[in-house]
Amino acid sequence: MGRIVLENVVKRFDETEVIPPLDLTIEEGEFAVFVGPSGCGKSTLLRLIAGLEDATAGRVLIDGEDVTEVSPSKRGLAMVFQSYALYPHMTVRKNIAFPMRMAGMSEAEQNERITAAAKSLNLTDYLDRKPGQLSGGQRQRVAIGRAIVREPEAFLFDEPLSNLDAALRVGMRLEISEMHKRLQTTMIYVTHDQVEAMTMADKIVVLQAGVIEQVGSPLELYKTPRNVFVAGFIGSPKMNLLSGVEAAEYDADTIGIRPEHIDISMKSKKGSWEGTVGVAEHLGSDTFIHIHGIPGCDPMTVRAGGDIEVKHGDKIYLSPQAEHIHKFSEDGLRIP
């Protein structure tokens, strides 16, 4: 259960077309991540699926059933909001019980599910508190608990981790991934953070200006980005993109090379490019070196080993690994 299909869905706000006609299928049990820069329409797309926005045209199907005109609560979906959207006037227990109470479920059944959810989310001790008395992470758990107890066809997450601090974010990321493995329910997850997308997704949907740029598994996107936008968006640090003379050598309009696919040398003068070290960021395990002076790409970022010794102003020689060079044509599309 939980196959979601969008057919020719269009969304317009007044005159502006936020989402031009769009087709997308999310398979049952899949963890799909919508990723893209802010304002790319990813949240709108999620809200269209949820029913919180009405589609201007096209159809939304859940398990083959047309739900385009169905109200949000009847679609059998649960949503976790960025702001958690807990009911501040209700205790944690009442918050979690709310959707079940609205569905007219028996008290006994409600309590059973609340107990189970609270246990799995470590909320048992907090059931009688109000949301205002909880930390950000705990609130997030309550929001997830409220979604779980409904046993929905699919979970929708709208940037759920962006209000948490960095350490908590990593922990919650793992918890959500584990929850997906355990429940095997379809999940759709919206984020602007490509790291979240890469680490959690079965399928990533990259969006820009309402248009799907590419759909695929994290590794597909990493290895064979379909166009310049995806190439630049997926991967951290960003792929270096070069145009002009350097690209012409490879018969392309633009070429891309990831920082981890460049070999460096400090002494011998061999290598395609020569540059000067600007800033070197020592992370311990890796060093990110930002290099100036390379035509068509300034600065160029290179990922090197953690124990390399470089400093500002050093001359440095770079050679890209030929098999990892991505070539793009004039219209930004990948040249195979």
Partner: protein
């Protein structure tokens, strides 16, 4: 620290004293009203009893006899309470619709509502009298309730709108996902969350209804006449009955002034439509 350094001695002592003087000056007329209400009518106009007199409660004890106070007070309570209820009953759904389901025209509708407040009541004085008399509602509680509710409706909607706006839209949407219908959104989420705002809106609306002095005077004679009408009709020419008039006036404004003390903060937010916090 810098601020402390700049404050002169005179400022630290003089400022509070000046503030107290100003406050006492502003409060003085009210004090004087209460003070006079304990004088007999005869004493109230004698300079020799200006400050020193034998206080009496007679003015309050005889309010019913002298002015039929309780009849007017009952009318004020009935009309103000019910008008507030009507205004909220219509205003809450309207403010809900505008705060959470705005359309392109919502701003214009709100501005238009505010502009109806600027329509001079006097311009429609005769048609209202004519209509009220025509359908036999002149001098009834019903017509006063409806008119009071309507003249306060724009402010009620505006106030509620600003309070509702403070509720994150996400929470309402979470409710929609969780399966509440429109009525449930209002009952289960909106009203409990905005309870404080609704209460202060109600309080302010009640105060305005209670103090209203145009329609309550012009659309009533006896049956539905409120305290405004009572005071307006007994304005005591040339100093007769200062004592008893003070007592009934104090009784007419006392409850409202006390209510007002409790809702100062909400008053600011409400009257400025949330623009000043």
């Amino acid at each position: 620290m810098a601020i402390v350094a700049q404050t002169s001695k005179l400022g630290t002592v003089g400022r509070p004293i000046l503030a107290w003087i100003v406050a006492l000056l502003f409060f003085f007329p009210i004090f004087w009203l209460i003070f006079t209400s304990f004088k007999t009518d005869a004493d109230a106009v004698k300079p020799e009893f200006l400050f020193f007199f034998t206080p009496t409660l007679d003015n309050y004890l005889n309010m019913t006899e002298n002015y039929d106070y309780w009849r007017f007070a009952t009318n004020s309570v009935i009309t103000s309470v019910l008008a507030t209820a009507v205004a909220l009953f219509v205003g809450i759904p309207a403010a809900y619709a505008m705060a959470f389901n705005p359309t392109r025209r919502t701003k214009d509708v709100l501005m238009w509502m505010l502009s109806t407040k600027m329509l001079p009541a006097a311009a429609v004085l005769y048609p209202m009298t004519f209509l009220a008399k025509g359908i036999g509602l002149f001098d009834t509680h019903f017509v006063i309730i409806i008119v009071l509710a309507l003249i306060n409706l724009p402010i009620v909607v505006w106030m509620l709108f600003t309070y509702f706006k403070e509720i994150p839209k996400d929470i309402i949407e979470a409710g929609q996902m969780d399966g509440v219908n429109t009525w449930g959104e209002i009952k289960e989420i909106l009203i409990p969350l905005a309870w404080g705002g609704i209460a202060s809106t109600a309080l302010l609306c009640f105060i305005f209804c209670w103090n209203e002095a145009y329609w309550t005077v012009r659309l009533t004679t006896t049956d539905a006449a409120t305290l405004s009408k009572l005071i307006e009709g007994n304005r005591a020419p040339e100093g007769l009955f200062f004592g008893r008039l003070s007592a009934v006036s104090a009784a007419a404004v006392g409850p409202i002034v006390v209510l007002g003390w409790f809702c100062q903060k909400q008053l600011v937010q409400g009257l400025t439509f949330g623009a000043v916090k």
